[in-house]
Each structure stands twice: as structure tokens, then as C-alpha cells.
Amino acid sequence: MNDDFVPAHPQEPGLDPAQEAKAHADAILKVEDVSKIYRSGDTEVHAVSSATMAVDQGEFVALLGPSGSGKTTLISMIGGLLSPTTGSITLAGTDVASLSKRELTAFRAERVGFVFQAANLVPFLTARENLLYVSTLQKRISRKDAHARADQLLEELGLAARAKNVPEQLSGGERQRVAIGRALMNDPDLILVDEPTAALDTKLGRQVVELLAREIKQRGKTGIMVTHDLRMVEYTDRVFEILDGHLTHVEQPSALAH
């Protein structure tokens, strides 16, 4: 368990995500009754159990829960990195679970932007090259447009002056911002961000999340941010809480304000 996890104490109890999903009938992302069981030998870990949630186009939501609650597992299934044991995931009409390995690779390259919890950048590429490389994995954005797009993203993320530096010459916050740029580079439908502030102090963490929220809103993207830090949810539209693999409530960020 993580020490800095603050349990939510909303004034009003939040809604049940499965109930609430019904109100989002034309959501871009639909997660329906998804479970993941890790099996190793004869032990089973129920990492995610019967998760149901819906996220609208243009929304930026948080997935809040303590360490080991299944946050990374859930967004990995949503992003096509991991197949659910049961249940279905639909992103803009694509049934993610039905894709072949090869289709999943292309799905991840074109439809999803990831910012992972740990290693995010190619160590021998500069900030700009880290963005440009992922653009070679898709076909919609031309090479010329990719260069302009990379420069624009770096500019917006305050990295114009660091474009030619390799990751080891960048600070933690700068690296995290490059990773956000990399995630946005291919103009994906969905941005998945796992603990973007874990390695940063509070002030820098806030800056990065604020920037992330701004980019997602400005570009009309849909985003899910995993966090166990209650202070980071104020930049999001809704907060899904997860505990021991169960999605328990959906809250308004204001209801969680401390």
C-alpha cells in the first residue's frame, strides 16, 4: 500500500460506474464487464473484476486507486496491450478484444497514445527524434507534417530548447513532457497516462498534469490518467475509483476536493 494514498471522502456518495455508463450511450470508449485474471502456476490474481465504464469524446478522466488495485492492468487492456480474460472494450466502434496481434500493434501505434509509469523514451534518440520515430509507425500523417507537428508539440510543451537533447540530458519533468508529446504525436483517439507524477515533486507534478489536461482539451482528445494522488484529480472531468480490482464509484473532482 502506498502511504500518500488519501481515501476519498466525498460529501455525497458517488455513482455506480455501471449505472452511470448507461447515461453515456454514445461514449467513444466503452468498457463492459471486463475482468482480468493473472494465472501463474495454480495461483490466480483477480486484478480487475467486472469493470464497466464509459468515457465521452473530449473527456479527461482520472482512474484513482491504491497501489495494486488494478489501474495499470485496466488501462493496458483498454490500450490493447493486454487481452481481457472476459468482457468487451470498444474504442470508436473498434472491438479491441477481437483484434489480432498484428492489428493490435497497429491499433497501439495509430489509435492510442501511452505515457507509461516507468521507461518511456528511447535513450539514444533526442527528444525530437523520440516524437518523430513513432510517427514512422503510422501512415496517416505524412513525413513532412510529422516534422511540423513534432516541432509544434515540443514548443507547446515548453521543450523547444531541449529538442536536440537525449533523455539522459533532460530532467524528470522534461522527460515526462517528452513522453506526453510522444503520446500525442500520432493524433490518437485516446491518451492513456499511467502515474505521470510518480517521479516528480508536487509542484512539478501539478505542472505536468495541467499541461496534459490543456493538451487533451485543446486537441479535443479523450484521456485517462491513472493516479493514486488525490491532489492531481482537479484537472480532470470525472474520477473513477478502483479498489481491489473493482470500479467502485464515479465522482466529480470537486466532490473530492480537500
Binding site: T72, I75, S76, L81, L82, R102, T105, A106, F107, R108, A109, E110, F114, F116, Q117, A118, A119, N120, L121, V122, P123, F124, L125, E129, L132, Y133, V134, T136, L137, Q138, V166, R182, N186, D194, E195, A198
Partner: protein, 363 residues
């Protein structure tokens, strides 16, 4: 933006050291092969270049041209054998001469102009036509020079120059059978007849068939295809084998070095490859990164190795003519490339087992 080449550019030292090590190994392969070819050629050139497909020695010669003694009349008997279209004598001896390059040992070959047994490999001028003329390989001669045979006390005019036609790594003179007889009698005035060493045979059928036919019908002789006769020259087999083992070992070491280097590199880069798989790079794309880097290293190393070999061949003028053949370079580079890429499968197998989900875990 090319991942493979960008990485190499950023890690010049690492890839440079590998290319340097590989280039030394390729250099050794090229140099050893070139030297062994040159050595074998200088020993066998005269026989390899004989204008014939079948050679006949005396039965007691134990496969050795120089130990073979035949009556010149045998030429006629061989010519009668079915399938033989023409036959001519080959005679050879070693004598002393005052060679232009200062050495004294000379190998002399006698042949009958217009008959099998004449040399090939003329690079300049023509073959001798009468008893006053000679064609030379080695000894530092040009057309029009005079060759002085000290033992036979003769002055000969050099009318032709040959290449790759030496025997026993000694300067070699080609003369008519007539002149050859005079040289023999000059030192041995009492010989009843001038023996020949071999009969050179032209045939219009498979050489092996003619060999059998001659062995069955001409008493006291043993026939060989020319290729067999060449490989039976004393020393050739052991030279080829010794060099072959050295070249083979060097080659294998080179491939192992490349294979293990890239395997280590791949293992070190596992986190990066996993990240790339997670953000949508396919296994094939990453395999191509490894393949391209291997190809780049091999080609760079080969270029360095060719330069080194050329310098070595030039610097190492050892008396026998040595030259680097383009076919050898092409063949060696292609073989190193193919086997290095196969060794790269070790790395590619590692890449293919990556589970992209691992990238999502907190290290």
C-alpha cells in the same frame, strides 16, 4: 528517421570497435586465402596451364611429374588410343641460369609447338617457335631480353611472357622440345635418348573416360585428369588443407563475435525494444533494425579489410606473384554477411519473445 543508423551514429565507439574487430578477422580471411592461392598457383601454375585435359605419367612416377620418365615413343602410342584427338610431350628439368633478378634456379619446360602440352597464360609476346627462343614467367624479363643458361651455355631470346605459369615457385622457362633436347645433351652428352616426363592429351570425350582408356591400353603408364594431376602435386593438398583450417576458424570466430555482440546489445536494449513494441512497432520492424545494423557493421568492416589486404599484398612482395581477386572479396563479404545475419537470429529470437505489456509495468 532511421532507428538503426541513428543509434549507430550516437554510439560510434561501440559500433566502431566491433567493426574494427570484425575487419581484422575479415582481413585475415582475405590475406590467408590470397596467400594460399598464390602459393598453390606458384607451385601448380605450369601444370594447371598446360593446354590439355588429360596427362600421362610413367607407372613408377608415384603421381609426381618430376619423378616420371617416359620414352618419347609413348606419345605415339597414346595418340592411338580411342578418344584421344592429339597428344604431345611435356618435359621438365631444373637447371641453373644467370637470371636478371639475380637468382640462379630455373625450371625449364619443353613442349612441341602446336601440340597438347604447350603452356597457356601468355600475357605478352608469343610462344617460342624455334630452338633460339624462350617464353618466361618470372626472373624479371621483358620481351627482347636475353636469357643466359649457364649450365647448358646457351643464349636465348625472350619472345613471350607468361603469367601464373610457374612451377615449384621458381622462375620458369618454356622452350621447344628441340631446344629442350639440346639442353639435356649439353650436360649429359651420352644419353641414348632424351626422356620426356609426361604426355599431354587432348580428347573429344569426358577426360575420365579417356583416362580409363589410356590406363587399359598403354603399358607402363598411368593417366590422370589434369585436375587430379594438379592436386596430386606434392605439398598442394597439405597447403590447401592447412590454410583452409586457418581461414575456416577465423571465419567462424568472426561470425561468433558478431552474433554474440548483437545478442548482448539486444539484451541491453530489451527495455527500449519493449517500449517500442508497446507504442506500436511490430516485431519485424525491430528485427530489421538488428539486421540493418549487422549489415552496416559487416560492410564497414569489409571495406576496412579490403584496404588492409591491398596494403599488405603490396607491402609483402615475396617473390611469388600475389594479387587480391575481386571474386574472393565478393565471395568473402557475401559469406560473412549471410552468416552474420544468421547469427543475428539469436537476437531476433529474443525480440520476438517480447511481451509489450511489460512496458506498462512499473519496472
Amino acid at each position: 528517421m532511421n532507428l538503426a543508423l541513428t543509434e549507430m551514429r550516437r554510439s560510434k565507439l561501440r559500433f566502431g570497435l566491433l567493426a574494427g574487430a570484425v575487419s581484422l578477422l575479415v582481413f585475415l580471411v582475405l590475406l590467408l586465402t590470397t596467400l594460399s592461392t598464390a602459393l598453390v598457383n606458384s607451385i601448380t601454375g605450369a601444370l594447371k596451364g598446360v593446354d590439355a585435359t588429360v596427362l600421362v605419367y610413367s607407372a613408377q612416377a608415384r603421381d609426381n611429374l618430376q619423378a616420371s620418365r617416359l620414352d618419347p615413343a609413348v606419345v605415339e602410342s597414346v595418340a592411338q588410343v580411342e578418344g584421344v584427338t592429339a597428344a604431345g610431350p611435356i618435359s621438365t628439368l631444373t637447371t641453373s641460369a644467370a637470371l636478371k633478378d639475380g637468382t640462379e634456379d630455373l625450371q625449364v619446360f619443353g613442349f612441341q609447338p602446336g601440340q597438347p602440352g604447350a603452356p597457356t597464360g601468355l600475357s605478352e609476346g608469343r610462344l617460342p617457335e624455334n630452338a633460339g627462343e624462350v617464353a618466361m614467367d618470372g626472373g624479371g624479363y621483358s620481351i627482347g631480353d636475353t636469357l643466359e643458361l649457364t649450365a647448358a651455355d646457351k643464349q636465348l631470346e625472350v619472345v613471350g611472357l607468361l603469367r601464373g605459369a610457374q612451377f615449384s615457385a621458381t622462375p620458369t622457362a618454356y622452350v621447344t622440345e628441340d631446344l629442350y633436347g639440346q639442353i639435356v645433351r649439353a650436360t649429359n652428352p651420352n644419353v641414348p635418348f632424351v626422356p620426356i616426363n609426361a604426355v599431354a592429351v587432348a580428347t573429344d570425350q569426358d577426360p575420365a573416360t579417356t583416362v580409363t582408356a589410356i590406363n587399359e591400353s598403354v603399358e607402363g603408364t598411368k593417366a590422370y585428369t589434369k585436375d587430379d594431376a594438379v592436386s596430386l602435386i606434392p605439398g598442394v593438398a597439405s597447403i590447401s588443407q592447412t590454410f583452409g583450417i586457418l581461414v575456416g576458424l577465423t571465419f567462424i570466430i568472426g561470425i561468433v563475435v558478431i552474433g554474440f555482440f548483437f545478442l548482448i546489445l539486444t539484451v541491453q536494449k530489451m527495455k527500449t525494444f519493449t517500449l517500442l513494441r508497446a507504442v506500436g512497432a511490430g516485431t519485424g520492424r525491430l528485427a530489421r533494425v538488428v539486421a540493418l545494423q549487422i549489415a552496416a557493421v559487416v560492410l564497414l568492416a569489409s571495406a576496412i579489410a579490403v584496404v588492409l589486404t591491398l596494403l599488405a599484398v603490396r607491402g609483402l612482395n615475396s617473390g611469388i606473384p600475389v594479387s587480391l581477386s575481386p571474386a574472393l572479396v565478393g565471395g568473402t563479404v557475401a559469406a560473412v554477411l549471410v552468416f552474420s545475419l544468421l547469427a543475428g537470429l539469436l537476437s531476433i529470437r529474443r525480440i520476438s519473445t517480447i511481451d509489450p505489456f511489460t512496458a506498462a509495468g512499473a519496472r
